[in-house]
């Protein structure tokens, strides 16, 4: 995504949704990946000057990687708390910034790994399993 991309929010999710559907990925998986991507690209658009989203499709899982060089996340426990948000007013006026982004990404992923360093950036890996759909747990810790 590029700087000032708030108007484009949802463009990556909808594109990924189409790709996954064309590949014949299970509808429930497509929907969960779509939600995760929407929340992720929203965060990149609101908080950073750009980032990269990578989609990987495997026989048994779909993975999304988010990477940005943004401000990073100061308190990793707080961002996982529903309703906690540092989004600016302009984002809230557009219907964003309710503080449910990270919690909703985590909830829709089977595995969710978030690494962030204040001042350096944030990286997230979210995995949705195509078979079994068993929750594998998640971790959120300080950046390496």
């Amino acid at each position: 995504m590029s700087p000032g991309a708030i108007a484009d929010v949802g463009a990556v999710s909808t594109q990924i949704r189409r790709i996954l559907r064309e590949l014949g990925v299970e509808p429930e998986v497509v929907r969960r990946v779509g939600i995760i991507c929407f929340e992720g690209e929203t965060n990149i658009a609101i908080f950073t000057k750009g980032g990269r989203i990578t989609l990987m499709v495997w026989d048994d899982r779909v993975e999304l990687f988010f990477a940005d060089n943004g401000p990073g996340i100061e308190d990793l426990e707080l961002v996982r708390r529903p309703g906690y948000s540092t989004a600016p007013d302009w984002a809230r006026e557009l219907g964003f910034g309710a503080g449910m982004g990270i919690p909703n990404m985590e909830k829709n992923a089977d595995t969710f790994v978030l690494r962030s360093r204040p001042g350096k950036g944030t990286a997230i890996r979210a995995t949705v399993w195509r078979k079994g759909n068993e929750r594998q747990g998640s971790s959120a810790g300080p950046g390496a």
Partner: protein, 123 residues
């Protein structure tokens, strides 16, 4: 109920998706916060919203919503309507406000979607 009935009950104008008005919806979600829409656990619902942004349509698309009903006489810009048309998301627009719109639809049998409860989230 069919989208055609949704339009009749709320006296809504059909901005796009006229050919999809036979589509059935039995659930509705009234929200202006996109994260509320992103926490709906069901599909094929009617999104009732005051948002007229492209993002609102894209959220509806990602969530497999059946249609978007815009309240309070707002009208999306032409590119938003064009996008909805291409995505196969019918766009309806009513002059009525959110509360009245939802009340009318509820009284005709439309029921609320379920949301992921906030207590379900980690934190």
């Amino acid at each position: 109920m069919k989208l055609r009935e949704v339009a009749e009950v709320t006296q809504a104008e059909v901005l796009t998706g006229r050919e999809l008005l036979e589509r059935e919806v039995d659930k509705g979600c009234g929200a202006d916060l996109l994260s509320d829409v992103l926490s709906v656990v069901e599909e094929n619902f009617l999104l009732v919203t005051g948002m007229v942004t492209l993002q609102a349509v894209r959220v509806a698309e990602v969530m497999n919503a059946a249609a978007v009903l815009i309240v309070r006489g707002k009208r999306p810009l032409e590119p938003v309507i064009a996008y909805a048309e291409e995505a196969g998301i019918p766009l309806l627009a009513t002059q009525k406000g959110m509360f009245e719109t939802c009340g009318l639809l509820y009284s005709r049998g439309l029921r609320p979607t379920r949301f992921r409860r906030v207590s379900e989230y980690a934190g």
